[in-house]
Each structure stands twice: as C-alpha cells, then as structure tokens.
Symmetry: C2
Subunit: 332 residues, 2 copies
C-alpha cells in the first residue's frame, strides 16, 4: 500500500505538499497539485483512515447501539428498518457504522466509547438507565431514538405515539366499535405508555367509559395471553387495539384458537406497520411508523451535533399514518 511519503518522492516534492494537494488546500501551486493528484490516482492511493484519524482525533465511525435481547434485531423487524435508515443516511458520508448490541445488564461505558472508537452515538430503543447516564457523561455526541424514557439534556427522535394511538382507536370507534380492548408491551416504556394515553384520549373524546379490564399489558411476546384473557370474559370486546403489530399477530392466533375469526368476530388494529402485517391473513390494519425516517433523521441530527451546532436539545417527532387494510369490520 502506497503512502504519502512515496508519492512525495515520485513527485519530487515534500510530503507536506502532498498532504496539502491531496486535501485540496489553497496554498499549493495549481500545477503541483495536479501532478500530485495524478500520481496518487495512478497508484490508487487512499489515505489510511487510521493514521488520519490518529492525527485528527476523529474516527469517522458512528456507534449504533441496540439492546441485546433474544432476537433483538430479527425478532423485532422494527429496529432492522431503523438500522437501514441509518445506513442509507450514512452511505454518502465518510462515516462508518459500528454496530453494538449491549446486554441489558451492562451499565458502564461500552467498549467503543471507552476506547474512543466512535465520534458519535446513536442509541436505539430502551436501555438501562445507568448505562444511558454514563454515556451522556462521556460527552460523546449522542442521539436517542425511540428511547424507553426521555433523558434530560439529550436529543431524542421520537414517534408520534399518542397521536397514532388516538387515530387507531378513533378509527375503531368510527367503525362502530364501542368495547375496545387495549393490549401492549410493558407500559413503563415511553412508546407504550404514550400509546395507552392516545387510546384513553380517544375514548374520552368520544365519551366512551374506560374499563380497566379492557386494558392489558405485559411482555411484548405475550400478545397471545393478553388477547386470550381479554376475550375470555362474559362481555368480550368487539375490537382490539394492539399497540404493536407483533402483539396484534399474536392476538390473531388467540382469536383463531378460540374458534373466532379475525375481523368478522373481532376487529384488530396494530401499530408500527412491520412487513409482517401485510403477510398475515387478513392483512392487518395498523398505524404506520416511518422507521427508516426515524433512523435517517437521527443520523442527520447527530451530524449536526458533531459539527458543533450546540442547539438547544430539540426533540424530533416523526409522524405516523393510518393504514387501512382488512382486519377491522364496520359495525353499527
């Protein structure tokens, strides 16, 4: 691999001149610059990122941190999409993505941060509080995406959860449903909490009394049990709002196992619009979250912060939209 030094020899100039020419600085003669650039091209020269980084105190790496759970990426296709958005945004830049899945138990700084191998961090999803705090104190520029909770002084990229849940519930109500069950993942997570708020708000808005026994939350994978317990009562709901598509798909199974038909007997609406929702039968109506947008926006924001734009921490909220498919029945 050719270095700046050898190019200098070939061009009969000093290595500083080569450096300047290659970085297209103004204090180099036009002719020498061209000559040097030509030689560099001929020899297929690419500056060693590591030497450059060493000198300039930058790595051109962005750490993308997910929580390691069983099937953190694959089990929740949501995050894969976010990752794709980040990747797409990073592609035209000089930045590389350093992927890191942290165990929930980890609370001290992750390696990539301690060893200074990243210039900025994108923290995706819910994380251990202490962990986030340590990261924040490390002073590395950071943006939180769909976090489990908001963190003072941090930049967040959020989903318009409450509004989406409101839309979903409203849609069920306007389709004629009055008894609407709500199932969701752990309510202590910001997103699910906000979705519950949206649900409640919609009920109130339409003067429908809230019934606690219609609200079930637990583990995200527990959709099946949640739905079953919801349906196994004397007066089961006619519709279910699942605050996550995975929950909804699990509910499908529960409904079918009880000998009922999704849509005809129980209407279902989800949230997130993961790919899966177009593959199940009947196709799931849901609230679309622009997952790639979430990722790309976060990276854009991070870039700004890294470039020193010391703006007041502003939270970005990515909008959602209702996707009508075939899982909700119109009743009167």
């Amino acid at each position: 691999m050719i270095t700046i030094n050898e190019i200098a020899k070939l061009a009969n100039v000093s290595k500083s001149t080569v450096s300047k020419a290659l970085n297209n600085r103004s204090d180099v003669g036009e002719e020498t610059k061209i000559k040097i650039q030509q030689i560099a091209r001929q020899h297929n020269f690419t500056p060693s990122a590591i030497a450059k980084g060493f000198r300039k105190r930058v790595t051109e790496n962005i750490g993308v941190i997910f929580r390691r759970e069983e099937r953190s990426l694959s089990g929740n296709p949501f995050y894969s999409r976010v990752l794709e958005g980040i990747e797409e945004e990073a592609l035209p830049t000089e930045y590389n993505l350093l992927l890191h899945l942290v165990p929930d138990s980890l609370s001290d700084l992750p390696n990539i941060a301690r060893k200074k191998q990243v210039d900025g961090i994108l923290l995706i999803g819910t994380h251990n509080k202490m962990f986030v705090e340590n990261l924040r104190e490390s002073q590395i520029p950071m943006v939180l995406v769909d976090p489990g909770m908001l963190v003072d002084g941090c930049y967040h990229v959020l989903i318009d959860n409450e509004n989406g849940a409101f839309m979903a519930t409203k849609y069920l109500i306007e389709s004629g449903h009055q008894k609407i069950g709500f199932i969701s993942g752990d309510i202590s997570r910001l997103s699910f909490f906000q979705r519950l708020q949206g649900y409640l708000k919609a009920l109130q808005h339409h003067h429908i009394p809230v019934s606690d026994c219609l609200i079930k939350n637990g583990d995200m994978e527990k959709g099946y049990e949640l739905a079953k317990s919801l349906l196994a009562t004397d007066h089961p709901p006619t519709a279910i709002f699942a605050s996550h598509d995975i929950n909804a798909i699990h509910a499908y199974k529960a409904i079918q196992d009880l000998g009922l038909k999704v849509r005809d007997d129980i209407s279902v609406i989800g949230f997130d619009d993961i790919d899966l929702s177009r593959m199940v039968t009947p196709n799931l109506s849901t609230i679309r979250v622009f997952k790639k947008k979430l990722g790309s926006l976060a990276l854009q924001k991070l870039h700004k912060i890294m470039n020193g734009e010391k703006q007041v921490p502003v939270n970005s909220v990515v909008p959602v939209e209702l996707v009508e498919r075939d899982s909700v029945k119109r009743v009167h």
Copy 2:
C-alpha cells in the same frame, strides 16, 4: 483523557515500561507492574484504540457486508439472525463490527476496505461477482456466508441446502403426497439451486417422475404468483415445497385467495424457519437453518484466518433439521 505518558510521569517510570506493564508483559518487575496498573485503574485509563491500531497495523474491526436491497435486513429476517450470531461471537473478543450494506451496482472495493478500516471481512449472501473478486484480491482475510456462488480460494460457510430440501420433499412424500410443487427464488443463487437439487433427488429416490410444470422459480417476493400459477392448472399439486419461508407465506395467501385451505387442501413446507413461520396460521412446517450458528461459525473461521492459520480453504456446512408443525396433511 489520560495517556500512557502521564501515567509514566505519575509512576516515575518510562512510558515503555508503562506500555509493557499494561500489556502484562513478562519483562517488567512485578512491583512496578502492579503500581502502574493501579495508577492506570485509578485514572480510568483505556488505551486509545486508534493509536494502538496505528502502531500495530490493526483496527480490531471486522467488516460485515450485506447486499443492500430494499429491506435487506428487515425484509429477510434470515440475515438479521446471522448478524446476531456474528455479534454474539464478537462480543467477548476485542473486535468491533463495522456494518456495511453495499448497493448491488458497486463493484469496486468498499470504503472500509480501501481505507483499511477493517482487519477482516464477512461477506453475507449474494453479491456482484466483480465486487467479490476485488475484495478477494485485496488480500484482506475474508469468509463468505451463504454466497450466491462459490469463489475459488475463498472460505465459505454454507447451509446444508440439498440435504434439507431432500428431507422436506421426503417428508411430503412420506406423508402421502405424490404431486409436489416446487417454488423458489432465483435458481441462479447457490442456495436455491441446491434446494432444487435436493427436491429432484428426493423425487428420484422415491421413483416419482419429475414434472417441469411443477417447478416454478423467480423473485423471492414472487411466491404469491408462483404458487398461483402452480395451483391454477387442471391437476394441481397436493403439496408445495417452498424453498424459502417467505415464499411459503406468500403461497399461503395464494391458496387462501383461491378459496382453498392450507393443509386441508394444499400442504406446504418451507425452508429456513424464520420467526414468522411460527406466527402464521397454520404454523408452517419447515427446514430449520441454524442462522446464528452460520454467523458465529463464520466469525470463528475468520479469526483463525486472521491469526495466520493458512489452512487449505475448507468449506463449513451447517446442518439443518426438519421442524414439523401444522401445514402438512397426512394423506394416503
């Protein structure tokens, strides 16, 4: 951030001694070593990975390259799982994962390789031939995982496709099916080609004549059309072997849209055992591929290569297993 130099001053030794102590070398006095290590710990010292890498000519980064397709990671949950396997294997090591999705059109060296930002590369899935060739010539240690085709002189981690397809087809035959359709993604991809071979082999083995009109292949997302064309004949098959679960799920939809029932009217078996296959109704019988194993094995292998174990390029084949669920009907 404290450096080795400052520790040297604090400990009243030279920085080389510090370096040695911190790297736990034998040529340092036990006492000095302990003193130095203590100071380092007190000051929360972590060596700058970038300076170290600069000196040692290593980055401690592994490039993980996927092909960028629309929904490359999320659309095909398969690869997310592979990635998780890689990640898990990387966790206890010093290595970081540099994620890179390359556009299909890219044929020259990816940035991370040109700029020498990785010590090794894991190439996942199908890629542009020229691209792979360039990578190979770059001399960076590399392992191909489930590649679109085998490459001379490269290390591969493969799926036991033919055997799996044989098992799937045999299972259908033994369940009493004689007319078995085959649908798959593009047959020019190694995995799909091998799966077709396994299917053919099983038929031959059971003296069932092969019928060309029972074999349909095309785009992976085309499962719906493929299945429909298979069923819209005078003598449709009673079972379908889909060489990819996604294909199978699409076939479900085709079957249902034709007013038929999966299992009762048409049996279906898939391949891969993606999470989805346990979520659809009826649960999909399939051939399980140990996706995480695929990833972890690849990284293990890469490590060996990077450590100079110049073994003859050996291909590893990860076994598969039949998963019986509810999508195949026993007939006689």
